[in-house]
C-alpha cells in the first residue's frame, strides 16, 4: 500500500537535544513530501509538549508507516516492534556497552539492551536510514537488509547566541595570564575520553605552553567516571588549568566557543558528533582523534589524529596555534563543510532517503 502518512516514534523529545531537533526536521520534510506526519513520544519536554503526543494515543490509519528515531534503549522499541504498520528506522547510534562496563554496569546493561532492541528490529524494518556511514555499517552488521545514509539535520541557526557577558569577561581575565584555551563540549562519559584530553593538556603544557587551559563543557552521565576524572586532574595539580564547567546555557556555550583557541576531541565513539559542527560554526579549528564517525563529519576541516598519543596531539595543537595559514585553512574548510551539512542539503538528502525507503520498501 502506498504511504500517505509517516508518523515518527521518538523516545524523548526535549529542547537542546540534537535528535529531538532532527525529528522535527524530519517531520517538516515528510510534510513537504505531502505526507501526514505526527510525532509520538515516551517523554517530552514542556517546550515541545504541543509538538508531540504520548505514544499510547497513537491510532492506526490506512496507508500509515512508522519511523523510529533510534538513539537509546527504550520501552518504545518493543511497542514499535509489535506494530503491524510498515516500519523505518532512523539510526543515531547507541553507545557500545563496553565503554561503560567498568564504570557504570547498569548503564552498560541498558546500552546492551538498546543495541539488542535495534538489532531485533532488523527483521521487521523495511529500511534503515543512518546519520553517518559509520552508523549505516552498524545497521548492516545488525542484519538490516536495506540501508542508506543521510546526515543529522542540524539547524545551524540554533548555534546563534549572543555570548554570555559574564563568561566572556571571565575569559578576558584568564587571558591576562597568557596561555591557550582548549575546548571540548560533550557529556562527561567514558567514550568521550575526557581523561585523554587531560593527558594531552599535560603534554601540551610541558612541551609548548605551560599556561594552557582546558575547558570541558557538558554534564556528567557517569558519576564514577566523573569522579575519576576529577581525581585524575587533582593528581596532576591541574585544578587551575582544567575548567569542568558542567551543563551550560546556549549563551555560555557560545562564549566558550568564541574564546577557544582550538577545539580538541579524543572521543572514542561518536555516531555523528554535532559539537564538531558548532566548533566549525564559531570558527574554531579542530584537532580530533579520528574515531568512529568523526572523520566523515569533519571532512577536511580538522587535523585528524591516527591515535591517542598525547604528545602527537599536543604537537598538532601547537601547530594549529602557531601556523596562521593552517589555522585559516582549517577554519575555511570548516565553513565549507558546514555549508555542505547545511539544512537545505541535509533536508534534500533526507527527502531522497525517505523517497527511496518508501518506494523501495513499498
Amino acid at each position: 500500500m502506498r504511504a500517505t502518512a509517516v508518523h515518527q516514534v521518538v523516545p524523548s523529545l526535549v529542547r537542546w537535544d540534537a535528535i529531538g531537533n532532527h525529528s522535527l526536521q524530519v517531520q517538516s520534510v515528510l510534510r513537504d513530501m505531502g505526507m501526514e506526519s505526527d510525532i509520538y513520544v515516551n517523554d517530552v519536554g514542556p517546550e515541545y509538549a504541543s509538538k508531540a503526543r504520548p505514544y499510547d494515543q497513537y491510532r492506526p490509519q490506512p496507508g500509515a508507516w512508522l519511523l523510529y528515531q533510534a538513539s537509546t534503549g527504550s520501552r518504545l522499541a518493543s511497542w514499535f516492534a509489535q506494530r503491524p504498520e510498515p516500519k523505518l528506522v532512523n539510526y543515531h547510534n547507541v553507545t557500545p556497552p563496553q565503554f561503560f562496563e567498568r564504570w557504570e554496569p547498569r548503564l552498560a546493561d541498558e546500552m546492551a539492551d538498546g543495541r539488542r532492541q535495534i538489532s531485533k528490529l532488523a527483521g521487521s524494518v523495511r529500511h534503515g536510514i543512518a546519520v553517518s556511514r559509520y552508523n549505516e555499517q552498524e545497521l548492516v552488521d545488525f542484519g538490516y537488509r536495506s540501508t542508506s545514509t543521510s546526515p543529522l539535520m542540524v539547524d545551524m541557526s540554533s548555534f546563534e547566541h549572543e555570548p554570555d557577558p559574564a563568561t566572556s569577561s571571565w575569559f578576558d581575565r584568564l587571558r591576562q595570564d597568557g596561555g591557550a584555551d582548549l575546548l571540548f563540549h560533550g557529556r562527561i562519559v567514558p567514550n568521550k575520553a575526557q581523561h585523554d584530553l587531560v593527558k594531552v593538556l599535560v603534554a601540551y603544557r610541558r612541551l609548548f605552553d605551560p599556561n594552557a587551559r582546558l575547558h570541558l563543557t557538558g554534564g556528567a552521565s557517569s558519576g564514577s567516571y566523573h569522579f575519576a576524572l576529577r581525581r585524575f586532574i587533582g593528581t596532576q595539580a591541574l585544578w587551575d588549568a582544567v575548567d569542568m564547567a558542567g551543563s551550560v546555557s546556549g549563551q555560555e556555550l557560545t562564549a566558550y566557543f568564541r574564546a577557544a583557541d582550538v577545539y580538541v576531541s579524543m572521543s572514542e565513539h561518536e555516531g555523528f558528533g554535532a559539537p564538531l559542527l558548532e566548533a566549525m560554526h564559531n570558527g574554531v579549528p579542530i584537532v580530533a582523534y579520528a574515531s568512529s564517525a568523526v572523520p566523515e563529519t569533519v571532512g577536511d576541516a580538522a587535523l585528524l589524529l591516527p591515535g591517542k598519543d598525547p604528545v602527537l596531539a599536543a604537537a598538532a595543537i601547537h601547530r594549529v596555534r602557531t601556523d596562521p595559514v593552517l589555522r585559516e585553512e582549517l577554519v575555511a574548510s570548516g565553513r565549507r563543510r558546514l555549508a555542505q551539512l547545511g539544512l537545505s542539503n541535509t533536508r534534500r538528502s533526507m527527502r531522497e532517503a525517505l523517497t527511496r525507503a518508501l518506494g523501495e520498501a513499498g
Partner: protein, 319 residues
C-alpha cells in the same frame, strides 16, 4: 552527502611534519615514555577496582584505597562565594557524615582484609603449584641472541601503517625495527635482554629495556596502531601466551594489524640456541595454533605464512 572535494591543505604533509616534531621531542627526552606511562597509571588508579587488569594484588590495592571514605568534601569553586557556602555546609554536616563514614570505612576495611587473606592463601597455593612446574623466564638466564626476522621484513612493511605508534616486542638488536623506521613507520621496541636493547638504542633506535607483557600491560587501551610479537611468543608458557593475545587485543586500535613471528616447533631445537630452548618454560606454537587462539580473541582477517624456520601469523584487531 559527499565529502569535501579536495583538502584545502595537504593533511598528510602537515601530519608528517608534526610527527617529525614529535620524534625530535622524544629523541630530546622532552616527554619520556615513562611520563606517559605515569599518566596512564595515575588515571588507572581511579578506574573501578579489578577492571583495568586481572592482577589480583592491584585489585586489592585499589579496593584498599577505595575503602577509606573521606568526608573532607572538596570545597573549592571558581564561582565567587560558592566555596564559602560549601565550607559552611561541610562543617554543619560533619557530625552526620562522620558517623556514616566511620561505619562504611569499617565495613570496607574488614572486607578488604578478608579478601587479602583469601589472596594470600591463593598465592600460596599458586606458589606450590608453580614449584611442581618450575618456570624460568628470567632475561638473565637467556642467551643474548635474537632470531633472524629478515624473511618477514616485506610482510611487516606491507601491513604496518605509517600513522600511529607501532611496537615491536621483543625487538632484539632492532634489525626489524630499523627497517620499519626507515620506511617511515613510527615504530619503537621493547626488549628485556640488556645487551641487545643497548645495541639497539646505540644504533639510534627508540628501544626500551622492558618485558613485553609488563610493557603491554602499561600501554593505554587502543593506543597502538600496529604490533609485532617475536621471541617472547616462542618462550612463554601457554597461560602467558594467551595473556599476550589478550593484551594485544586490548592495546591495539580497532582495525590495527598484529604480526606474530613464531618459530616452527619442528625447528625449535635447531633454530634456537640449546640453552634458550632447554630453559624456556614454554614451547613455540604452530602458526595455525596462533591463528586459532587469535580467532577466539578479538582478531579477524587471519593469515598464516610459513617460512623456513619461522611462521608469520597476521591478523587485524576487530573493529
Amino acid at each position: 552527502m559527499s565529502e569535501p572535494a579536495g583538502a584545502a591543505f595537504d593533511h598528510e604533509l602537515v601530519m608528517a611534519e608534526i610527527r617529525e616534531e614529535v620524534a625530535r621531542r622524544r629523541a630530546a627526552g622532552d616527554f619520556p615514555p615513562s611520563l606517559e606511562r605515569e599518566l596512564d597509571l595515575a588515571f588507572d588508579r581511579y578506574v573501578p577496582a579489578g577492571s583495568v587488569s586481572s592482577d589480583f594484588r592491584e585489585a586489592i590495592r585499589a579496593a584498599d584505597r577505595a575503602a577509606y571514605i573521606n568526608v573532607a568534601v572538596p570545597t573549592e569553586s571558581q564561582k565567587p562565594g560558592v566555596g564559602e557556602v560549601k565550607r559552611v555546609l561541610r562543617k554543619a554536616m560533619a557530625w552526620y557524615l562522620n558517623y556514616l563514614a566511620q561505619q562504611t570505612t569499617a565495613f570496607a576495611t574488614a572486607s578488604v582484609r578478608a579478601m587479602r587473606s583469601l589472596g594470600e592463601r591463593l598465592e600460596l597455593a599458586e606458589g606450590q603449584l608453580a614449584d611442581l612446574t618450575p618456570a624460568l623466564d628470567d632475561a638473565a638466564d637467556r642467551p643474548a641472541v635474537a632470531p633472524d626476522l629478515s624473511p618477514w621484513n616485506d610482510l611487516c612493511l606491507g601491513l604496518l601503517p605509517t600513522r600511529g605508534r607501532v611496537l615491536h616486542a621483543e625487538c632484539g638488536e632492532g634489525d626489524l625495527l630499523r627497517v620499519l623506521v626507515e620506511a617511515g613507520v613510527d615504530a619503537y621496541g621493547v626488549e628485556p635482554r640488556g645487551p641487545l636493547v643497548d645495541r639497539a638504542a646505540a644504533g639510534g633506535l627508540e628501544a626500551w629495556p622492558d618485558d613485553p607483557l609488563a610493557h603491554l600491560g602499561a600501554v593505554a587501551d587502543g593506543y597502538l596502531a600496529g604490533l609485532v610479537l617475536s621471541g617472547c611468543v616462542d618462550r612463554l608458557a601457554l597461560p602467558r601466551q594467551r595473556r599476550l593475545i589478550e593484551l594485544a587485543a586490548a592495546k591495539l586500535a580497532p582495525g590495527a594489524p598484529l604480526v606474530i613471528i613464531a618459530t616452527d616447533p619442528q625447528s625449535w631445537s635447531t633454530a634456537v640456541p640449546a640453552l634458550e630452548s632447554d630453559l624456556a618454560p614454554g614451547r613455540p606454537l604452530h602458526g595455525s595454533t596462533w591463528a586459532h587462539l587469535l580467532g577466539r580473541s578479538r582478531f579477524d582477517d587471519l593469515n598464516v605464512s610459513d617460512g623456513a624456520d619461522t611462521a608469520a601469523v597476521t591478523a587485524r584487531r576487530s573493529g
